[in-house]
């Protein structure tokens, strides 16, 4: 984070945004000054930075970058003498007005310490920050500094925030834990998470700005995030509220998160994940996939299983205290979303306490009951889909099954098993009866299979279409020769 006065921002019709950095030009200049000043004193470095500030169009940016870089540096004292001791000896002999007398005091103290006079003069202020020598610059690339600057600017702007609404694609447990840890409060509709603090209810306050800023790194670490914050700033002399909006699609360079690996709470969960991926490979398995609103709380299930719009959640309850379980049961009873609970048998709670499916386990979370639940869910889903398809109208003559299934948000199996009135399934397509009638007209008197094949290919249809409109293929050996009428239409 930066000192507030070094933040560069832009206002635009009621909105405010930090001026983000995308290229490395200025950053590289600042880094090169630091490198040149290695072995020199901080006050010298400061002078050089000031020189660059004067040449730059944005002095705040230069100063902010220098500030961030300075935190990566190590400074050391330029003398082996103890400045405090030197001062003590000098000042106890003071004060002096006469310069000659001053000189003789310095000489006598230099003699006491066995060093040249200059060393004494140098040591008087040697413990002041500006007299320290730049010794080491810890490695940081210009790109990393750009990213750090962008994050720091965002956080610094957030110091003035009165409230914030955000969405994230993952990283839920860390985010909610951090919200609680920072003493913030949240409210959610299941998608957007609205954060502020207890007092925010009673009046606009920037009190929680610092805490909101601390939440930012966790949000931008997730995928597909968006932030909207209310920022209170003075324009003229009156405080005004501005909106700050940012999301992952803006592609601002922010520090990388390099912990992409899935992290498991226990070996048990990891083993379970690997086994299930093997046996239920058509299901997508996600770790801590979402949050579910449950009264004043949220539940972040350990696993989510996804397929064709189906969502099944699983919460694993291992070794915990009685209070923990009671709180959990209370939470689970406050949501309509079904969550499977895998319970450690050593815990003394009956399956009845939880509203949904409960699986018991001793050592490992068993795969079989989960697969059964997923299968049951799939069957239920197909049944449900079939019911819903009957009420759905299709306008197209030929439509791909998969496309239509996705459009209707049902499974392909359900669509295949459905009798859509006036439609036939031909290969991977649904084809209307009307279209087949027109196809018959198009075929007309043609009987040579090569000619017929051209027509079928044009519509990407298979031979099955011919059967449906009352033709069969006459084969000569393995070669289809011509078609002839049958009487089997309908």
């Amino acid at each position: 984070m930066l000192p507030k006065n070094l933040l560069t921002i832009k206002f635009k019709s009621g909105t405010v945004k930090p001026t983000y950095l995308f290229d490395n030009e200025q950053v590289e200049e600042v880094i090169s000054i630091f490198k040149e000043c290695k072995g020199k004193r901080l006050k010298y470095l400061k002078r050089e930075i000031t020189r660059l500030e004067c040449e730059s169009t944005n002095y705040k940016l230069i100063r902010a970058l220098a500030e961030l870089l300075k935190r990566k540096c190590e400074f050391t004292q330029t003398t082996d003498l103890d400045p405090l001791e030197i001062r003590r000896s000098l000042f106890e002999k003071g004060f002096v007005i006469d310069e000659e007398k001053r000189d003789s005091i310095i000489s006598s103290i230099a003699k006491d310490f066995g060093v040249p006079k200059e060393d004494i003069e140098n040591a008087i202020f040697a413990d002041l920050p500006q007299e320290q020598q730049l010794n080491e610059i810890n490695s940081i690339t210009s790109e990393e500094l750009v990213r750090k600057y962008n994050l720091s600017s965002t956080q610094t702007l957030l110091f003035n925030a009165t409230e914030m609404v955000f969405t994230v694609g993952d990283n839920y447990p860390q985010i909610f834990r951090t919200i609680n840890y920072l003493g913030l409060m949240y409210d959610t509709d299941g998608t957007e998470i609205h954060v502020n603090g207890p007092v925010s209810l009673l009046k606009n306050t920037k009190k929680y700005g610092t805490s909101l800023a601390k939440l930012i790194p966790y949000i931008i670490k997730s995928t597909n995030w968006s932030i909207e914050a209310k920022i209170e700033m003075k324009r003229g002399n009156k405080p005004r509220i501005f909106t700050f909006e940012l999301n992952s699609r803006d592609n601002i360079p922010f520090p990388d998160n390099n912990e992409d690996d899935i992290k498991f709470d226990s070996r048990n969960e990891e083993q379970f994940y690997n086994e299930l991926s093997l046996y239920a490979s058509d299901w997508e398995i996600r770790r801590e996939p979402t949050f579910i609103k449950a009264g004043n709380y949220v539940i972040i299930p350990d696993f989510g299983f996804y397929k064709n719009g189906m969502k099944v959640f699983l919460e694993v309850v291992g070794f915990w205290t009685r209070e923990y379980i009671e709180k959990k049961i209370k939470k689970f009873n406050q949501t309509d979303t079904k969550i499977i609970v895998a319970l450690n048998q050593n815990l003394k709670c009956s399956s009845l306490d939880f509203p949904g499916d409960v699986i018991f386990y001793k050592k490992h979370i068993p795969i079989k009951p989960i697969l059964e639940i997923l299968k049951r869910e799939e069957e239920r889903k197909i049944k449900h889909d079939i019911n819903s398809i009957h009420t759905i109208k299709i306008d197209e003559d030929i439509i791909n099954l998969e496309t239509k299934a996705r459009e209707l948000n049902v499974s392909i199996q359900a669509l295949e098993q459905t009798n859509v009135p006036g439609y036939y399934i031909i290969g991977k397509n649904l084809v209307s009866k009307n279209f087949l009638d027109r196809l018959k007209i198009e075929i007309g008197e043609k009987r040579k299979f090569l000619e017929i094949k051209k027509i079928l290919d044009k519509y990407k249809l298979t031979d099955k279409a011919l059967e449906l409109i009352g033709y069969k293929i006459i084969w000569k050996g393995l070669i289809p020769l011509k078609i002839t009428e049958t009487n089997c239409l309908d």
């Binding site: 560069t8 169009t57 002095y59 705040k60 405090l84 001062r87 003590r88 000098l90 000042f91 106890e92 002999k93 003071g94 004060f95 002096v96 007005i97 001053r102 005091i105 003069e121 008087i124 202020f125 002041l128 920050p129 003493g183 409060m185 949240y186 409210d187 603090g197 207890p198 007092v199 209810l201 009673l202 009046k203 306050t205 920037k206 009190k207 002399n237 004043n296």
Partner: protein, 439 residues
């Protein structure tokens, strides 16, 4: 119905209509600012509503007694404060604010939280409180977090932890209360439920008018006494002398150049300088307009020249005398270092570490050092006894600062005449600054 304290607020678990409360859908409870605790309980009692008050979680308080004797004006202030048990008392530095506050703590005999601006003041208060009451005194600061029935904290620590501390004390005292109305610090007063409140200061008014917030936060200004009636009897008498110095030729030229640059900028942009607000506007511009920035830099150069003029050092040399205890004030650290090095005078800035500062002040007290040079850290509250000469080498024109600095010299000590010198560069804006303060 139960009322509870929750992170700087008060909650009610039932749907009732009580002033100050608002429905909080996040937790399905009513919520109000902690500041209104006494008004809320009073309302509930008057309305004959049945309620269980679980707001306070007080620290057990030993019986408090002391042998403190108040002076007449302190007793008057105490009686006035007891009328409402809330409010601000204005007394000059050195008039015994700490003694007065301690008598109030003793008479109230409740767990008390005291907020002061600096760590030095925390130590000073703790020492005095311990001496007066012979009980353990708590400290809640960046260094130490130990709560006792009487606990001393800094504005910073109290602000950061207000939501945790707010229901543990019945009496809340702010030393140097003019710090309280700032945007962040006022939240201490807002997040504490303490029904009894006392603010102490020598300088009630703030340049930004924010002192108007104080009645809401801790009560009205209920008592004020100026230094004049106390001078001689309770405060050392002092006299002020202004010494004008000229620029050196070189400085005058540089000063004129810098001033001309600034004025040209004003002319070119058609800006008229009528007050600090106009200057603020140019500062705002400087982010976008490089010329505005140059102009400000030029003005700063001129100001620095005026404050640091070489002849001031020469003049200072004339005033130094080993028979006096002298404190030299200056705004710029660079000036502090210059004086320290040239005259071998111990210095204190905000960067000086606590131990070294203590050592310097102790040696000053004992007479091992007869002078100290300092930037602004000695402004508030540190007992620097037995200084009889003050020299102001620069100032910022705030009347508050001026009074506080004077106060530093006003501690009653062995029958001495105190003199405050102000060394000012002639023909600069600084003369105007100095003039403005006196009026």
């Amino acid at each position: 119905m139960i009322i509870l304290y929750d992170k700087g607020t008060i909650t009610i678990d039932e749907k009732v209509n009580v002033p100050y409360f608002k429905w909080d859908d996040r937790v399905k409870k009513y919520r109000a600012e902690a500041l209104y605790y006494s008004e809320i309980t009073e309302y509930l009692k008057n309305s004959n509503l049945n309620f269980e008050d679980k707001v306070l979680d007080l620290i057990p308080c030993p019986f408090l007694s002391s042998t403190i004797k108040l002076r007449n004006y302190q007793r008057d202030a105490l009686n006035t404060w007891f009328w409402k048990r809330k409010g601000v008392v204005v007394m000059p530095t050195g008039a015994g604010k700490t003694i007065f506050a301690m008598k109030i703590i003793e008479k109230m005999d409740f767990p008390t939280f005291i907020v002061v601006p600096t760590l030095d003041l925390v130590n000073q208060w703790k020492k005095e409180l311990k001496k007066a009451f012979s009980v353990e005194i708590g400290e809640f600061t960046g260094n130490k977090k130990k709560l006792e029935a009487i606990t001393v904290s800094t504005y910073n620590s109290a602000y950061i932890n207000a939501s945790y501390l707010g229901n543990k004390f019945k009496l809340l005292i702010f030393d140097e209360v003019h710090h309280l109305p700032s945007e962040s610090f006022r939240q201490i007063a807002e997040m504490f439920v303490s029904p009894y409140r006392l603010g102490l200061t020598a300088t009630f008014e703030r340049d930004d008018e924010l002192h108007e917030e104080l009645p809401r936060l801790i009560g009205d200004k209920i008592y004020e006494i100026s230094p004049e009636p106390l001078a001689g009897e309770y405060l050392a008498d002092f006299e002020t002398k202004i010494i004008n110095v000229e620029f050196t030729e070189d400085e005058q030229k540089k000063y004129n150049d810098a001033q001309a640059f600034f004025k040209n900028y004003l002319l070119s942009r058609n800006i008229k300088m009528r007050g600090p607000k106009d200057f603020q506007k140019i500062v705002m511009r400087s982010g976008r307009d490089p010329e505005a920035r140059e102009a400000i830099l030029a003005r700063n150069r001129a100001e620095t020249l005026a404050f640091n003029s070489e002849n001031k050092i020469t003049e200072l040399a004339k005033l130094l005398d080993k028979d006096n205890r002298t404190i030299i004030f200056t705004k710029y650290n660079n000036m502090v270092y210059k004086i320290a090095k040239r005259f071998l005078i111990p210095y204190i800035t905000h960067k000086t570490k606590k131990d070294e500062r203590k050592e310097i002040l102790d040696k000053f007290k004992k007479g091992i050092y007869c002078s100290i040079v300092s930037s602004q850290v000695l402004d508030e509250g540190i007992n620097v006894p037995e200084a009889n000469i003050g020299i102001i080498l620069s100032g910022t024109g705030s009347s508050r600062e001026f009074i506080q600095r004077l106060g530093r010299l006003l501690r009653p000590a062995k029958n001495k005449k105190a003199i405050l010198y102000e060394i000012v560069t002639r023909n600069t804006m600084e003369v105007r600054t100095s003039y403005r303060r006196k009026n």
